[in-house]
């Protein structure tokens, strides 16, 4: 058994999803190669050499043809079920005509037999599949495996730079640019404070920003607030705006139209502040506060900071 781990990096560090896959290989005591997708120099600084079990570190730009070229040498190719990972693996699978298992939530190796678990019917059920095609292409859902690293200087690691001899990729990722804002991205933020039409003007949104800043979050808006010009379209949460699923979503003066709910209903904890006790938002809120947001929100900020 030989495994190739396709590791995603961010700012020259391995992402935690890569460490998860490394942990898996370590626990299964199987030597593996690591392919990082990014500029070649990065490989050294990744801290990957310190991981036991890494044989070889290849590095290359994101290239499906390159991965496809390396394919025959391995029995299992592991990657992350991220947006980029799923995209890459789909292309690799198509180019090499190999079976692909996306968004896997459990991996089990017994001897040479690989068993995977993955959601089907949009998560309504899980399928356990014994994989007996070689090489198998698998992307693993983030946080599914967990990180339990064994670190030690590993002397036998080689680092190679690998370039695809031919590429059929029509698009190649060359650069990732960070957004300007210090604040977290709306779709990634752990805390989102949203305001609706009732905010009355864009200045009033500042009271939401203050609360968001003190919780390390960001601010969203209903479409009514966007239409009225109190917030930008980039801030719109809902069916025709952004879909968010933060740990905490605070809806301030939002009635809870289904078009809005469609964009935030999967948030872990929903807190609603509204003067109307019959507002539909209270039906899906975990915590509902019947109160004037102009009084309550500044008080909350004061208490929390």
């Amino acid at each position: 058994m030989k495994i190739l781990v396709i590791a995603e990096t961010k700012e020259s560090k391995l992402k935690s999803t890569a460490l998860e896959m490394i942990s898996f290989c370590q626990q299964a005591k199987i030597p593996f190669d690591l392919l990082t997708l990014g500029p070649a120099e990065d490989a050294h600084t990744l801290g990957a050499e310190t991981c036991i079990g890494v044989h070889q570190i290849l590095s290359a730009r994101d290239s499906a043809s390159l991965v496809a070229q390396h394919l025959p040498a391995y029995t299992l190719i592991l990657g992350t079920a991220s947006l980029a990972g799923k995209d890459l693996f789909a292309r690799v699978s198509a180019q090499s005509m190999r079976h692909l298992y996306q968004d896997v939530t459990q991996l089990a190796l017994q001897g040479e037999t690989l068993t995977i678990t993955k959601p089907i019917y949009a998560g309504k059920a899980f399928a356990k599949i014994e994989v007996n095609t070689v090489p198998a292409l698998v992307t693993v859902r983030p946080n599914a495996l967990g990180v339990h690293l064994t670190e030690q200087e590993n002397t036998s690691t080689q680092t190679n730079k690998s370039e695809a001899t031919t590429t059929t990729d029509r698009e190649v990722l060359t650069k990732v640019e960070q957004g300007q804002s210090e604040r977290p991205d709306l779709t990634e933020s752990r805390v989102v404070i949203s305001g609706g039409r009732s905010l009355k003007n864009s200045e009033n949104f500042n009271i939401l920003w203050q609360l968001a800043d003190c919780l390390g979050g960001t601010v969203g808006a209903s479409r009514a607030a966007v239409d009225a010009g109190y917030a930008t379209h980039a801030m719109q949460v809902g069916q025709t705006g952004k879909t968010v699923s933060p740990k905490v979503y605070v809806a301030c003066g939002i009635s809870g139209a289904i078009q809005h709910l469609a964009g935030m209903k999967t948030s872990k904890h929903i807190i609603a502040i509204n003067t109307d006790p019959d507002a539909p938002i209270f039906k899906i809120a975990d915590y509902g506060i019947v109160s004037d947001l102009f009084e309550l929100v500044p008080k909350l900020t004061e208490k929390l900071s």
Partner: protein, 652 residues
């Protein structure tokens, strides 16, 4: 038209030369046009010949749609019939030129009638000039083409009168029955002219007339007035299938879905492009055009024609000829098709091109993609857990039927009614009415999913068929006589699109019609009027234009004591869309001012206290529209209620 035969063989030689060359040129052009539209998928338009002939009477002879604008309708009617009459004269003119003796053409009664029409046509043409050059209505595109054609018609008529007057004078047969040429002859003083001058005058007019006839004929296929020839066939071959039934794609055996190139449009769809007169009636009615979006239904048809005329058949329509932005702006409201006097079918062209984008290229607005994914995974466009369909019914004490159960009336709740808080109130109001009228009914709860209307209209036929199969299987497990829905989109699909997929029962009722039925049966008792209340009704396009439901909701409303209906300017079959159809409900509208706000303004302008809707999506649009307005202009937004709510609130 009397022809004074000139003895010169040169005249005759040129006459025959002109007739032959012009007719062969014309024949050749028509043949090549027919050849250019033929390649394409099958499209049988030869069924139900009697219905088709009836349409010819209705739309060609009676010009029924033209009368919606009475003044231009009359002018066009006169030009049309005048032209037909005058054409008889032209045929006689040509036959006589070929030395046939045409007795009836010399008949003074015929000449008199002909004169009458000639003068009518002149008047109508002058009016058309006036309208285009002076009145300049918005939708009319001022084009040299139109003026040239009008000019030619005028020339034909005037020369015709001159020829008749001159020839009658020369023959000494100038009689007052041919009153127009008679008057003209006297006005110009023909009897006092020397015969040779008059003969020369006659000859010149005769030649101008002849050449104009053929110039007209040969120019026609290159102008928008080609409709003189294409209109009748286009109307004859017009669709007889309900507008609400989209063509089913064969997903198993096709290699290409939707329309990318012209040869993927059927011959009739291409004939449409040749029939368009660019009159702009469709654009005038279109909500997208009205709001200033890029979509203009006339342009879709005209641009397809330009593509047909000037581009290789293998070039894609997408991009240069038709942009994605145009295609996604359409609400499938059918205002264009309702307006078009030539029964051109805009929507199938638009949705066929959407199908290509979605099924072949995976291109669509991101929000639409989300809605489709939700439909696929959760069976409803908002992606809410399907459990909730039943759980809220539970909270209302309504238990869904068990498989195999029988009921008279099955109430199909629909996604909006199941998940959207505002629409749930419509369902409850309807249930209150049913209970009041002691009508027993059943619901099927979790067995329902989205009917697939948005998926189909966005262009994802695959998803549509998947949803239909699930729903048909579910519905066929129950025994029912009628199916009731509060959603015009559910109703339309169930009624027109589901039979093909095996739905046994097709008695599908919209709640406004059912309420009216119950009222007629005397099953609904209403409160005495306390005070007069004014309402206005926003029609749903899928009820009026797609399903001919116009009167039932109006009568139901008027039956409620004290309710006074004030109509908006655009209502019934000419209503203005709310902006939600054709999957637009699931897409952002940021390219122009919003359709729903425009419509809300029209409702507010009536001065009515309450705005009544008949569709949960219209409801959302009208509520949002009135609120957006109220921000600027009104303290409180106009109250919006569904017709079921209105009736249920007035139950005794």
């Amino acid at each position: 038209m009397a022809h004074l035969l000139t003895e010169s063989w040169i005249n005759e030689f040129f006459f025959i030369a002109v007739v032959l060359s012009a007719s062969s040129f014309f024949g050749f052009t028509i043949a090549s046009r027919i050849k250019s539209i033929l390649p394409g998928p099958q499209d049988n338009r030869f069924d139900q010949p009697f219905k088709r002939i009836k349409n010819i009477f209705k739309h060609v002879f009676a010009q029924s749609k033209m009368w919606r604008r009475p003044s231009i309708g009359l002018a066009h009617f006169l030009i049309f019939w005048g032209f037909c009459m005058v054409s008889l004269g032209t045929i006689a003119f040509l036959l006589e030129g070929l030395r046939f003796h045409v007795g009836w053409a010399q008949n003074f009664i015929f000449l008199g009638i002909q004169d009458f029409f000639t003068v009518l046509v002149i008047a109508a043409v002058l009016f058309a000039f006036f309208r285009r050059l002076v009145l300049k209505p918005n939708h009319v595109r001022l084009s040299g083409d139109a003026l040239f054609i009008l000019g030619m018609i005028l020339c034909l008529m005037v020369t015709d009168l001159c020829i008749d007057g001159a020839s009658a004078t020369l023959k000494g047969e100038l009689k007052s029955q041919a009153w127009a040429s008679f008057s003209l002859a006297h006005f110009l003083g023909f009897p006092n002219w020397s015969p040779s001058v008059l003969a020369g005058f006659h000859l010149v007019n005769w030649w101008i007339h002849l050449i104009t006839v053929f110039l007209f004929l040969c120019y026609l296929p290159f102008s928008k007035h080609f409709h003189v020839i294409t209109a009748a066939p286009n109307i004859f071959f017009g669709t007889l299938i309900p507008w609400g039934r989209m063509k089913t794609l064969d997903l198993e055996n096709s290699e290409h879905f939707g329309v990318d190139r012209l040869d993927q449009l059927s011959w009739k769809q291409k004939l449409d492009t040749l029939a368009c007169t660019e009159c702009g009636r469709c654009s005038d009615a279109c909500p997208a055009t009205t709001m200033g979006k890029k979509l203009d239904p006339a342009n879709i048809i005209i641009n397809l024609r330009h593509h047909l005329e000037h581009k290789d058949v293998n070039t894609s329509l997408h991009g240069q000829t038709i942009s994605e932005e145009e295609l996604w702006a359409c609400t499938t409201c059918a205002a264009c098709m309702h307006a078009c006097p030539l029964t051109i079918e805009h929507i199938p062209a638009i949705t066929d091109m959407r199908r290509h984008l979605v099924l072949m290229e995976g291109k669509m607005p991101e929000e639409a993609m989300l809605a489709l994914r939700n439909l696929e995974q959760k069976g409803n466009p908002w992606g809410i857990s399907e459990q909730e369909r039943e759980s809220w019914l539970d909270t209302q004490g309504i238990t869904p039927l068990n498989e195999g159960d029988s009921v008279d009336l099955l109430f199909w709740i629909g996604c909006a009614g199941s998940f959207d808080d505002r629409s749930k109130k419509i369902v409850l109001a309807m249930i209150k009415i049913l209970n009041h009228a002691k009508i027993s009914f059943g619901v099927i709860g979790k067995h329902e999913s989205c009917t697939g209307d948005p998926a189909r209209r966005i262009g994802n036929e695959y998803l549509f068929q998947m949803l239909v199969q699930g729903n048909v299987e579910a519905l066929n497990k129950f025994n029912y006589k009628k199916l009731l829905t509060i959603c015009p989109h559910c109703m339309n699909s169930l009624k027109h699109e589901y039979q093909e997929f095996g739905l046994y029962n097709s008695k599908i009722l919209h709640h406004s019609v059912f309420i009216k039925e119950l009222m007629d049966k005397g099953l609904i008792r209403l409160k005495e009027a306390q005070a007069s209340q004014t309402v206005t009704l926003h029609d749903s396009c899928y009820l009026t234009r797609y399903n001919d439901i116009v009167d039932a909701p109006r009568e139901a409303l008027k039956s409620v004591p004290g309710t006074q209906l004030i109509e908006m300017k655009r209502h019934g079959k000419s209503n203005f869309c709310c902006g939600a159809g054709g999957g637009r409900m699931w897409m952002e509208e940021d390219k122009s001012a919003r359709v729903n706000v425009q419509r809300a303004e029209e409702a507010v302008q009536t001065g009515a206290q309450t705005l009544i809707t008949e569709c949960p999506f219209c409801m959302t649009m009208m509520r949002d529209g009135t609120r957006a307005m109220s921000e600027k202009e009104r303290a409180d937004p106009m109250v919006v209620k569904d017709i079921a709510e209105w009736v249920s609130e007035h139950l005794a």
